[in-house]
């Protein structure tokens, strides 16, 4: 499982969902969490963290957001040499096969479809961590 000190970024335009995700992460011992309300704000946070040499180590993002969506954020992260390997979970109501495939092709680490139970989300996080360790 991710260590408790894992620096985590949660991105969703809905405050309610950010709260739900934060509570799930807290139950796993992950409390070093920053929130962003869209991909653009998330990128600002990522660049700030890079500049202080304390990069984010795990990202959970919605897909459908104004300004910059989660897929575009994922592509931006994967295109950046310094942070391209960050484990990145898309947590989204978008469930069509073509969209899942698009996310996989863009390098998503895990994909969780809303609605979800905390148990499903937790299992996905554990799987992503386990796979990240094998790379």
């Amino acid at each position: 499982m991710f260590p408790a000190s894992t620096k985590t970024l949660v991105v969703d335009d809905m405050l309610t969902m950010r709260k739900i995700v934060r509570n799930c992460l807290k139950d796993l011992g992950l409390t070093h969490v920053t929130e962003a309300s869209d991909g653009q704000q998330a990128w600002v946070e990522i660049e700030k963290a890079d500049a202080t040499d304390e990069p984010y180590e795990f990202i959970v993002s919605d897909w459908n957001m104004p300004n910059m969506n989660g897929l575009d954020l994922l592509k931006k992260v994967r295109a950046d040499e310094k942070i391209k390997s960050i484990p990145f979970i898309l947590l989204t109501a978008e469930a069509e096969k073509s969209q899942v495939l698009e996310a996989v092709n863009a390098g998503v680490s895990g994909y969780v479809v809303k609605p979800f139970t905390p148990a499903v989300f937790t299992e996905k996080i554990k799987a992503v961590y386990s796979n990240a360790g094998k790379k």
Binding site: M14, L15, T16, I20, N23, M65, P66, K114, P115, T117
Partner: protein, 161 residues
């Protein structure tokens, strides 16, 4: 009233699934009726999303009385809420977002070509959502242990009745 069940059912199923999985609440769908021709509820908060497709457009709203919304949100987040705070409001939008995502997937597998959309939230005592469509708006009521909320579906260019 005859109804295009192919179009409406995914929204019914989406609502049942979303409330069950995300909020741990069992809901029972009630008898569908045209807006203005059936029981009304005191709506105080609603999530609204635009429906866009190559062949039709419209809007969907999820409408709650305050006590029902607070009970659902308390279950969804796992904290007890007594008033609708600013941080709680977008919960109406998020619930509709998830229901819409479910229904969109099912409908697009049948060729409806519905596009992605982002919901908005409206709030106020005695709220009424007006769907700017020439065709009648359909009301889908849902009963929970806390009371009744409903979904409204209005379309233009695609008759669902």
């Amino acid at each position: 009233m005859s109804l295009d069940v192919n179009f409406v059912n995914p929204f019914v199923q989406g609502t049942i699934e979303t409330l069950k999985i995300q909020c741990q609440i069992e809901v029972k769908p009630g008898k569908i009726y045209l807006k203005g021709k059936g029981p009304e509820i005191e709506v105080e908060i609603a999530g609204v999303i635009g429906l866009t497709s190559k062949s039709f457009s419209g809007s969907i709203a999820i409408c709650f009385p305050e006590p029902i919304f607070l009970a659902i949100m308390s279950n969804m987040i796992g904290e007890n809420y007594q008033t609708i705070t600013h941080e709680l409001e977008d919960g109406a939008g998020e619930l509709l977002n998830i229901i819409f995502g479910f229904a969109k997937r099912v409908l697009n597998e049948k060729g409806y070509q519905i596009e992605k959309a982002i919901p908005t939230v409206v709030r106020g005592a005695g709220l009424e959502v007006k769907h700017l469509t020439a065709t009648p708006t359909v009301v889908l009521p849902f009963e929970t242990q806390y009371g009744i909320f409903h979904l409204e579906v209005g379309t233009e260019g695609q008759s669902i009745t």
